[in-house]
Structures are given as structure tokens and as C-alpha cells.
């Protein structure tokens, strides 16, 4: 396995609200390796976008604890300057909504060159004006040249025309490509794609994902795809991490999880994806619990058909299984590699019924 590029340990985040403190993230651990594409999957409001926004320090209102390492350096809560270089040069984010993430009053060219000329570090408006007024012809030209290069990379056929257009003149698919291009400007080592293509049509979405995948493969960039669509995760990622209500419930290689989902939540998610052969599923009842007063230790306990007293009382912790899967659920015994499983003092409810059924069928 190659080196980890980003490691997050026990990340917690809470917000103060009128109802009380909302404990949204409850100890998230994530590791992204070099050149790896990881999909972070979960339903709306489960904290997947928040996790990535915290990586970039885009949520000043959150009270956080935990540790974050980027390329072996601990970066959590560094000074503002360090963080903004990290944000500009090492980690880029592709925002979800191509309609609202571009400034409507500047041309694409201006917005892209500004990133190159002003990216990283804090600049006062005076600096900005000075720069605009004194003609830095050569520098500007170079930046524009780079912008054109990047637009070629995202397969925009007439980059010069696009550079001088305003966002409203372009279609959704085009704008999404430009956002990808902008994220690539600084040659980042880690790319975060927040629901790329969700706002687009199926055919356009497919194209965008392909472009993104090609670029990532060519450059050997690491990516975190955030998505609620398991079909998308299936097409683009190497590894899938499933989140539920601020907890990681399962992580697994992509080719394994779709055949053998382990966590009951992953199963309900998979069943509700519309399929050509079996049609739409039933969907699952209930919704994510309120973050203000989460009582159960396993936050899925209220919606889980296998939940028992242990699920509410003790957090299951992550159990390693074979095939590189790990799951936070009391239904599984830790695969301890030779050591007797009784050594772990976490409660064990028993194998999930669908597994015993499988065994019988075998």
C-alpha cells in the first residue's frame, strides 16, 4: 500500500444551537492513500460534506477536536497562512452546485487567472486593485495560458471562447467542467469532489465523471468523492466509506461492498438504489436522528431491525473482517487473526440472519 496522503483521527465537530449542542461528527477516522479514489457515501445530513469542509477549514462556527495529518505533518489548527496554502496548493475542492459556485459578474477567464495570481495567502482589496491597475502583462498572460491548458484538459473544445464568457452563457455541464478545471489549476495532491454531477442530467453526469476519472488517473491525484448515489461510487472509486449520522459505519474496497454489504445500513442503502433488474426497493423507514440529543451509541440503532440493548449502550467500534472490509456493528466478531475472539470485551449479538442464510445456501 502506498503512503497515506491524508490521515484523520477521531475528528469530532459540534455546533451550538438554540436547542443545545449538536454533536454532528462523532469520531471520524479516515485515511486516504496516494493515488487513491475514495467515495464517502451517506444520505443527506450525515456529515459527509462537513468532514471535507473541516479538512479545508471552511467551517469557522464548528467546535472541533481531533488530529489531521497531511503528508505526515500534523496540520490541525495551524496558523491561517499555512492553512490557506494547504487549501490553495495541496488540496482543492470541486463544489457541488455548478449554478451557484461561479461569480456571475466576472468572466471565466478573470476568475481563473485570479486564482493563479492571488491564490494562497491573504490579500487585501488594495493589493487586488493595485494588481488590476498596474498591468502585469506577462504574468497575466502566463496565467491565462495555464487556464487554457486546464480547460483543454477538461475537454472544453473552444477554451478561448469560454474564457471570455460569463457563467450564465454556459450550460450546466460546461460550468461543472470549469469548476473541475479551477480545482486543477494549482496542481493539487488531493482533490475533493462534492457530489460532482448530481445537479446534472444522467448523460452529462456520466461524461463529467469520466473526465474527472481520466484526469485523476493521469495525474495520480488522490480524490475523495462525496456522493449519496451508490451507483456513482461504484463507477469511480477504489474504496467506499459509508457514513451514517456522523459516524463511519463501514469501509470496504469498492468491488467487495456491492456484493457483500456488511452493515445493516449499507444494505438498506444498496436496496434503495433503483435497479433495472429488480426495480426500486422499498426504501428504509425513519430518518437521521437529531444531533442534539443522540442517545444510542450506535446512531443507526433506532432504524436497525437487528438492534438490541448493546447497540444503544456500547459503541460497536470498528471490527476488521476479511476481504479488507471493516464494519462498526455488533453483529460481527472481530477477525483477530489467530487470537481468540473472546479477548475483545465488546458485545457480540450474533451473525446477521442474511449471512447464516447464505451459508446454508452454500
Amino acid at each position: 500500500m502506498s503512503n497515506p496522503i491524508l490521515e484523520i483521527n477521531d475528528l469530532k465537530a459540534s455546533f451550538k444551537t438554540y436547542e443545545g449542542t449538536a454533536n454532528v461528527l462523532d469520531g471520524i477516522d479516515l485515511t486516504i492513500h496516494e493515488g487513491e479514489a475514495m467515495a464517502l457515501v451517506g444520505e443527506t445530513g450525515c456529515g459527509k460534506s462537513l468532514t471535507t469542509e473541516l479538512i479545508l477549514d471552511l467551517v469557522p462556527a464548528a467546535r472541533t477536536s481531533g488530529e489531521m495529518k497531511f503528508k505526515d505533518e500534523v496540520v490541525y489548527s495551524p496558523s491561517v497562512d499555512e492553512r490557506s496554502t494547504l487549501r490553495g496548493e495541496n488540496i482543492s475542492i470541486i463544489m457541488q452546485d455548478p449554478m451557484s459556485s461561479l461569480n456571475p459578474v466576472f468572466t471565466i477567464g478573470e476568475q481563473m487567472t485570479d486564482i493563479l495570481l492571488f491564490g494562497g495567502g491573504e490579500k487585501s482589496p488594495i493589493d487586488y486593485l493595485k494588481h488590476k491597475l498596474t498591468r502585469n502583462g506577462a504574468e497575466r498572460k502566463k496565467a491565462r495560458e495555464r487556464a487554457r491548458e486546464v480547460l483543454n484538459e477538461v475537454q472544453i473544445s473552444s477554451p478561448e471562447r469560454v474564457l471570455s464568457s460569463y457563467p450564465s452563457e454556459l450550460s450546466g455541464g460546461m460550468r461543472q467542467r470549469i469548476l473541475i478545471g479551477m480545482a486543477l489549476l494549482a496542481d493539487p495532491d488531493l482533490l475533493i469532489a462534492d457530489e460532482p454531477g448530481t445537479a446534472l442530467d444522467v448523460t452529462t453526469e456520466k461524461k463529467i465523471l469520466e473526465i474527472l476519472k481520466d484526469i485523476v488517473d493521469n495525474r495520480d491525484t488522490s480524490v475523495i468523492y462525496i456522493t449519496h448515489d451508490l451507483g456513482v461510487a461504484h463507477e469511480v472509486s477504489d474504496r467506499v466509506t459509508v457514513m451514517y449520522a456522523g459516524q463511519v459505519v463501514e469501509r470496504s474496497p469498492t468491488d467487495v461492498i456491492f456484493d457483500t454489504p456488511m452493515h445493516p445500513y449499507t444494505r438498506t442503502l444498496l436496496e434503495s438504489v433503483p435497479s433495472l433488474s429488480t426495480g426500486i426497493g422499498e426504501g428504509s423507514e425513519g430518518s437521521i436522528p437529531s444531533y442534539v440529543d443522540v442517545e444510542a451509541e450506535c446512531r443507526f440503532a433506532d432504524r436497525c431491525e437487528f438492534s438490541e440493548a448493546a447497540c444503544r449502550g456500547v459503541h460497536p467500534g470498528e471490527r476488521t473482517l476479511d476481504q479488507g472490509q471493516s464494519v462498526a456493528c455488533h453483529l460481527y466478531k472481530q477477525d483477530t487473526g489467530g487470537r481468540s475472539a473472546d479477548d475483545t470485551d465488546e458485545p457480540y449479538i450474533g451473525p446477521p440472519p442474511w449471512r447464516t442464510e447464505q451459508k446454508r445456501a452454500d
Partner: protein, 357 residues
């Protein structure tokens, strides 16, 4: 330029053989749409430029069934939906719903008529009034059409909440206290309140998560079975429509390109555009792979509706396009009874040969 060649220059020997409208008319339809057109003017006073959002489409919806209209954004599918309830005034054409000529209705009768046609919009967040409680929102259509006494209306709200699977105490909540799926349930309850015969579903689940989407679609199906409602379901997602629709129309740039029975279209898609749409569905099950056509990549994006390509509008993106496509805009060919496709290739050979089986 191909544009200079007119239809007269081309020897016409092809005899399009099918008319989906005729076929659906035999099915005892509730809704009949004939040559529906909606053109917007795009230029100034002297400029007669037109955007043909909907350009002469014909279909019919048998009573109690679901007609799914599928296409990319900007193809005119939502405009078609709005024309059905005359929110948009069609340029020309004929719409008959339950025998009434919709386009002929004077304003006061139109309002009465709208009781029969309700809409559920795409974004549940912005289609509910944030300052009204749920019970007011659901009772609003009843007030407008002055149905029942105050007490009857309150009772009706309770039954509706129960029908869409929401707890009764939700009637005292405001929309912002509800999740996306719950809000969409409220929208559905509101549409149901006046006992409509036709509900236009304009991408009812595309703003929702997969698990919530499945539940909303199941609810819609159950309601249809109980109340025998007819649905006109607009979506861009083919994998959703397969399970809920009985008939499908695939729309491209204001025109229908393939119409037919849902099973026929999914098992044997005949128009290259339908095949491209089907092939781009993301899948997670290996058995689904056999059910979708080989991958087709579409070139570019949907063309500017002000300058629709000559001949077949799809030819600029079609991987199978040949010279004739720029000259002739084909009529429907009957593939089999209940399945119609508008592609020149459908006459010469069927895509079935292309499958390799």
C-alpha cells in the same frame, strides 16, 4: 451546407408506418394531446426568432396508468407538463382531458377544471409556503375550490396525512421543520386533496436521496392503485421510470423520438438517443449490465433550441448519423404494436441486429 437542400430534393420512398397517438387512443385514454406546440419568441419586435420548446408532440394517457416523459434538461418536458394544466398557454395543438377541450375553456371554467389536474413540483423546499403550517398548505386547494365545510376540510387534511404516511401532529408544523422526503409527501397530499384525475409529477424525486426516493415512489404507486389516478411523470432518470410507468415517451429538443410500452422500450430500445440514455445509467448490480445496451457516448451537448439542426434534431450528437439524417426528419416507425421510434435506421434494420445476439 446541408441546410440548402430542401425536402423536395430528396427522393422520398420511405413510408413511416406507425402513430403512437393512434395506438394509445385505442386504450381508453383520459388525456389526449395532439400536435401540441409551445413556441417562445426569442428576438425583439422585428426579429421573428422562435424557440420551439415543444414542437408538435402527440400522445395519449390511458386512464389509471402512468405516462413517463423522459429527456435531458431543456428538452421541453416540463413545458409540456405546464401546458397540460394550461399554466403555460400552448401556441397551438389540442389537449383533451376527460373529454374537455382544455384550450377552449374560458377563465372561470378553467379554474374549476384545474381541480382535475394537479401538479407536484421538483423542489419540495421551494414549492411549499414557508410561512404556513402544513394543515393550511394541504387545505389550500380545498379553500380555492370551496369544497366542504370547515370541519370537513379539517377531517380531509387528517385523512390525507394518513394516506401519505405522515403522523397527524405534523399538521401543526412548518415546512422548514420537515425533511425533504416529508415535504414531498406534503406536496403529494396537497395535490390529492381535491381528488384529481390527473397528477403531473415534475421530477418529484430528483432532489431526494435514493432511500427516500424509493419510499416516495412506492407511496405514489400505492395511491394510484387505491384511487385510480392517472400520472404524467416527468423525469430525466430512466432507472426511476422503469418501475413506475406503463408508457414512456422519450423527448429530445421539443419532439418525441420514441414512444411505447415501458417493457418494450427497456428491453428493445430502438432510437439511438434512448440507447444512449439507457447506457448512461450508473449501475451497481452485475445482472443489470446485461439489461442495458453497450455504452454509447454522445458528442457535445444538447443544441441551442434557437438553431435546431436540420432534418433529425439529434443527428449532431448521434453516433449513427449519416447523410440522409440532415435532410429528413423521420416520422414514427412502428417497431411492433405499442412501440414507435423515429429514426431513419428503424426502417432499414432494427438495432436488434446490433446487439450481437
Amino acid at each position: 451546407m446541408v441546410n440548402e437542400i430542401t425536402h423536395a430534393d430528396v427522393a422520398h420512398e420511405k413510408h413511416p408506418s406507425g402513430d403512437p397517438h393512434e395506438y394509445l387512443l385505442r386504450k381508453d385514454p383520459l388525456v389526449r394531446v395532439r400536435h401540441l406546440k409551445k413556441h417562445y419568441s426569442a428576438g425583439g419586435i422585428f426579429d421573428k426568432k422562435k424557440i420551439k420548446a415543444v414542437d408538435g408532440i402527440s400522445f395519449a394517457i390511458p386512464e389509471g396508468s402512468t405516462f413517463g416523459l423522459v429527456g435531458e434538461s431543456g428538452c421541453g418536458k416540463s413545458t409540456t407538463g405546464k401546458c397540460l394544466s394550461r399554466i403555460e398557454e400552448p401556441t397551438s395543438g389540442e389537449i383533451r382531458i376527460d373529454g374537455t377541450d382544455v384550450l377552449d375553456l374560458p377563465a372561470d371554467e378553467l379554474r374549476k377544471f384545474r381541480q382535475k389536474v394537479q401538479i407536484v413540483y421538483q423542489d419540495p423546499g421551494s414549492s411549499l409556503n414557508p410561512r404556513k403550517k402544513i394543515r393550511k398548505i394541504i387545505a389550500k386547494p380545498l379553500n380555492i375550490h370551496s369544497i366542504g365545510t370547515k370541519k370537513e376540510r379539517t377531517e380531509r387534511v387528517d385523512t390525507l396525512l394518513e394516506a401519505v404516511g405522515l403522523p397527524l401532529e405534523y399538521k401543526y408544523k412548518y415546512p422548514n421543520e420537515l425533511s425533504g422526503g416529508q415535504k414531498q409527501r406534503v406536496s403529494i397530499a396537497r395535490a390529492l386533496s381535491v381528488d384529481p384525475e390527473l397528477i403531473i409529477l415534475d421530477e418529484p424525486t430528483s432532489a431526494l436521496d435514493a432511500s427516500v426516493q424509493a419510499r416516495v415512489l412506492t407511496l405514489l404507486k400505492d395511491l394510484q392503485e387505491e384511487e385510480n389516478i392517472t400520472y404524467f411523470h416527468i423525469t430525466h432518470n430512466l432507472s426511476v421510470i422503469k418501475d413506475v410507468a406503463d408508457w414512456i415517451g422519450i423527448m429530445y429538443l421539443g419532439k418525441l423520438v420514441e414512444v411505447g410500452d415501458v417493457d418494450a422500450i427497456f428491453s428493445d430500445p430502438q432510437h439511438p438517443y434512448t440507447r444512449a440514455l439507457l447506457s448512461s445509467i450508473p449501475i451497481i448490480k452485475s445482472e443489470d449490465d446485461d439489461l442495458k445496451p453497450d455504452r454509447i457516448d454522445l458528442e457535445g451537448e444538447i443544441p441551442d433550441p434557437e438553431n435546431v439542426p436540420s432534418g433529425c434534431a439529434f443527428r449532431t450528437r448521434c453516433p449513427k448519423a449519416f447523410d440522409e439524417c440532415s435532410r429528413t426528419d423521420p416520422e414514427f416507425y412502428e417497431i411492433e404494436e405499442g412501440h414507435y421510434s423515429r429514426c431513419l435506421l428503424n426502417e432499414e434494420y432494427s438495432f436488434r441486429n446490433d446487439f450481437g445476439d
